[in-house]
Symmetry: C2
Subunit: 659 residues, 2 copies
């Protein structure tokens, strides 16, 4: 009987007894330990780096041979103290530490501490194989020998892989060019979708968030999970209509309207792909996998589906399940075998973008009640925990985006984004996008001279209305009053306006502006309340505000205005582009795809339009801040320091100390 030894792997803790002289990578595989490898133990890829320590006397492992010292082609350098697991033979009892970078299911650390790390385990993988040459004495096709090699050198089940028919013309020349050593891409353990001569370790993916206004794309290294380029562009569909509903109308009015819009968005995604590749200095043909998220109308138009049904009740989606489709069918110029994964939609107004945001913010994972809100023309709202998750959309209208506001504009340089109104003098100060200075600080005028002060954006109007309320110039019913207190309040027909900046044209907050914000915030709040009713909770533990608006808005003012329910302010966070993050997560992890598909199946869809309580909540939420609910945390918010110049973070900390 051969001598044996004990081998222990960390961090998994897996251990076992193997014959002396066993290769460490082989031992890992026998024991089910997760060590990465593309080259299959040939000292080429450098993915299987481990650190090795003996637990007995004498040499614990074979010394580094030429394969590690001179032959190893270090695409990645051999880290200090590391060995290639595939080149080490165990000689005595051994401890083997597998660093995260050598694990197949490694994690990418995300910046925000409160969200879980992303698992990097993409559905496409590269395998280096050495294929036996054709032999007249044993007739078999190049395809068959390729699959046999994959089965022998990687996984027996790969004998059953399908080779993409479109790949067949490339098989023979590439095998011969690579002298019978090739790297293949295997998609989802089902199909061979790419082949390259020799060893290859480059595998890229792209994640897209198709918004009504902008399209954002990220290019990632699928092996490391790193973002190597990011870019965005305007959605060219804007020429068919500014907002979603006008695009639906365009498709209803024009027989080829939907096709035109489909062609426009696909071409834009194509340009963005090229832009990303150029930025990263790679070829689009290196891109093997793509993911897409978008609201239901963008989702349908991307897939060539006329969105007209989404424009009228009952708002039926053509498809809600995830869609898997070859990139070439969408006319995208990536690798010929590249696949597209379009994340699932939740409901007629709750799209793949909301599903992706949930994948990123994980309301379905925690035991506390999380509220996840993405505000646009419709607010997409998800509420719940691992026990139960609800989703709805609420028709907030475009006011939060600065539309339908007298001095409103998109968030762009020159737009007022922060507002303070002195409680005593009732004079305003503000900040505009593009400048770090407040309007009453020295040098402000110079700092904005390139673009001027051109209007007020969504977060600006929120703060303006909230500050006017806190200063007593807007009443709990939303009426503008106080003409006798400050000349900034001036008559405007039968109502009043507050002049923020007396330019030409002036920037004013009109009564109609306050009403628009009241309607929008009431719709948002009513949607949230409706879900709270369904979930039978009186408070939420945590709030995540997703999207551009959610990133710019100051949660303090959102709560002061009664947009969101009462919550500990330290637990209200901007989630950034959560939809885009979800697209990236689905790009990097097959398990995440199964996760979001299950989430979408299990989430309870609430249609606000058919719920009588929605109207009740809506009416109740018109007041400022609210008239139907208790707000333990709101009290401190309403006790805001007067026109503080502190950034919100400082103020938030102060509030916490008081609490």
């Amino acid at each position: 009987m051969a001598a044996t030894l004990d081998i222990v792997f960390s961090p998994s803790g897996r251990r076992g007894t193997v014959p002396v002289g066993t290769n460490v990578l082989d031992a890992a595989r026998m024991l089910g330990v997760d060590i990465d490898s593309v080259c299959g133990g040939r000292a080429i890829c450098g993915r299987c780096q481990v650190s090795v320590a003996g637990r007995g006397p004498g040499p614990s492992a074979s010394p580094p041979g030429p394969s590690e010292t001179t032959d190893y082609r270090p695409r990645r350098a051999l880290a200090a103290g590391c060995r290639l697991a595939c080149q080490v033979e165990a000689l005595t009892d051994l401890m083997v530490d597998v660093p995260p970078s050598s694990q197949v299911h490694r994690q990418v650390v995300r910046k925000r501490a409160e969200v879980v790390d992303i698992e990097v385990d993409p559905v496409v993988r590269l395998y280096y194989v050495e294929v036996s040459e054709p032999d007249m004495h044993r007739q078999s096709s190049d395809s068959l020998r390729l699959l046999e090699a994959l089965a022998e050198q990687w996984d027996p089940k790969y004998a059953e892989l399908v080779i993409e028919p479109e790949l067949l013309p490339h098989l023979q020349p590439v095998l011969r060019q690579g002298k019978w050593a090739v790297t293949v891409a295997v998609h989802d353990d089902q199909a061979v979708t790419g082949i390259w001569p020799g060893f290859r370790d480059l595998m890229l993916g792209a994640a897209f968030d198709v918004g009504s206004t902008t399209v954002a794309g990220h290019l990632l290294d699928l092996a490391s999970g790193e973002v190597i380029a990011s870019s965005g562009m305007m959605n060219p569909q804007i020429r068919f209509g500014e907002d979603l509903m006008s695009r639906v109308s365009y498709s209803m009015m024009n027989p080829a309207g939907a096709d035109e819009m489909t062609a426009a968005i696909r071409s834009a995604v194509g340009s963005l792909l090229e832009q990303l590749a150029e930025e990263a200095g790679v070829a689009t043909s290196d891109i093997l996998e793509l993911t897409f998220v978008g609201n239901p109308i963008m989702h349908h138009l991307l897939l060539g589906i006329d969105p007209r049904e989404l424009g009228t009740a009952p708002f039926a989606l053509a498809v809600d399940a995830a869609v898997r489709i070859p990139a070439r069918v969408l006319g995208l110029d990536a690798h010929p075998g590249a696949r597209v994964y379009v994340l699932p939609c939740i409901a007629g107004h709750v799209g793949a973008d909301a599903a992706a945001a949930a994948l990123s913010e994980t309301p379905h994972r925690g035991s506390e009640i999380q509220l996840l809100v993405d505000v646009g023309t419709n607010a997409e709202i998800m509420l719940g925990s691992k026990d139960r998750l609800l989703a709805a959309s609420s028709p907030t209208g475009p006011a939060f985006e600065g539309a339908q506001i007298s001095s409103g504009q998109r968030a762009a340089p020159g737009a007022v984004e922060r507002v303070r109104v002195d409680r005593d003098t009732l004079e305003p100060r503000f900040k505009v996008i593009g400048s770090d200075l407040w309007s009453d600080e020295a040098g402000f005028d110079e700092s904005v001279s390139a673009f001027g002060v051109t209007g007020i954006c969504g977060s600006g109007i929120i703060e303006a209305v909230a500050e006017l309320y806190l200063a007593g110039l807007v009443g709990p019913d939303g009426g503008i009053t106080g003409a006798n207190r400050t000349p900034r309040i001036s008559p405007d027909g039968r109502t009043f306006s507050y002049t923020l900046l007396d330019g030409d044209p002036p920037i004013q907050i009109t009564q109609a502006d306050v009403r628009a914000i009241q309607l929008a915030k009431a719709a948002l709040y009513a949607g949230v309340r409706l879900l709270m009713d369904h979930l039978d909770v009186q408070a939420v533990d945590e709030i995540r505000l997703a999207g551009a608006f959610g990133s710019h808005i100051d949660p303090t003012y959102a709560m002061a205005l009664g947009m969101i329910p009462d919550c500990d302010l330290t637990r209200v966070h901007a989630a950034g582009n959560a939809a885009g993050s979800g697209a990236i997560i689905a790009l990097l992890s097959g398990r995440a795809r199964r996760d979001v598909e299950q989430l979408v199946r299990e989430v309870e869809k609430i249609e606000t339009a058919v719920e009588p309580r929605f109207q009740d909540h809506f009416v109740g939420a018109m007041g400022i801040p609210h008239s139907d609910h208790q707000f333990p945390h709101l009290a401190s918010v309403l006790d805001l320091p007067t026109a503080s110049a502190d950034p919100p973070e400082t103020r938030r900390r102060r509030n916490r100390r008081r609490a």
Copy 2:
């Protein structure tokens, strides 16, 4: 407890006890009885016709209601004595006979009695479903409700079907056009590939045999299995080279050569599709399924694979397994969801055509030894039984096709196809394609006046050489002799020729022609002998001669010349276009596809080029008829009646009586 009754189905013999009042179609499904239905029990499709007989007193079944008498839209009439199973309720013990036309796995009777009938069970099926309308109170997509309907109304596993992404844009308009009743095509129990409003029962398929010279296509009704149109055209690749090897050379000499030839054949198949549809009065968009067979080079060019590797040793196929590919990828204008199935190849010189011929002629099914030969530039040879099957190809060259023969030509009007030489006078008679008369019969000249006598085709040269041998003008070594016996033998350089027709130019059999035939027949015979050696048999029980040449050749002469091994002549048959039949079988039956895939995996491939014995057999087979083997049946063949005018069939019967 409810009253029950006994119900028995024939011909399956399945029986069971069901509650009184049970619907007969439901009872059949419960008991696993095979009854067809497209409409799912709605008295629309008429597929479930059965005859019903009571086994007790009183009324045995519910009387025909309006659904059967007035409402039933008889796409097929209700047969005499038949009821729609879906409309009958069982009242007493019942006998239900399910005629073949109402069985899902029905059979198409083939013309030749010796081959098995074809099972009609295509991989694509139509299902009529009633889909629930969208409802704002219960949000779900049209896709989801369609799959739910398929699962509820047809098969629970259909909840997991994938809807082809390319079909998604059509889903919503078709569901609404059909008022939520649609017919869908389900491919291979995996994907929804088509959708039509309302009820639909038309489902077509096309089977193609892509030959080097001609392309043949058949259009079939996939429900009945009937051929509704057949057509053929020249393979336009001929402009790149007459034979296979010249086309391989073309691809080697021209960088885009293979692509040109791929485009040519795909365009020809497209034209043929249109031609077939026009002939049958249908639209190409009704075609849901296509199958293709061809030799390895045609197979590769159809799939866009450069065939150059097939031109030089070791003759490696790019792919041998069956290829499944959307028709649109091949640029074919069928239904957008149409799928193509390309039958598997066996080896570098034994293609999908040979596999298809085996599927049709079933050498792998019987217990006797069958020899299946398809003669072209290469002879594809299969030999064996259900116990063991071998395949090889033999380089016969083009002589059997009339090429490399001094007066040779393709089989076309004006070509000599039958030859007799009077044993005494040594004068010839012959028949030409396009005329039913022998050349010495009255009216022959008029009957051929439209095209004249232009040359000699493959079967004609076989008979000519064999008759010259039987008349003693060609010796066992193949030398032409007898210049002193008849003026038809004339010097031709240092050898002699026999003049068949003294026209301008004359039609002669030269010494070089005899040598070409000797080489070709020796190659064929040596290939067969090699397989007989491998199988360790001294004789074959049955011979099938496939292809055009096999249909035209008289087996008597083939044996007299020593092309084929000794065999009872009553068991030598032309198999017609066996490859085309195989394409049809694979079109009609999913089980046949699995059958041919297994056959191709299990057949033993013998490469003649690396077998030393092949050369030995080849040399030994150069003589006429043979010099290395005993021929119990050949004796009677060589005792042929002199220059008989009997058709081969009469003569064969006579031989049988003698035996």
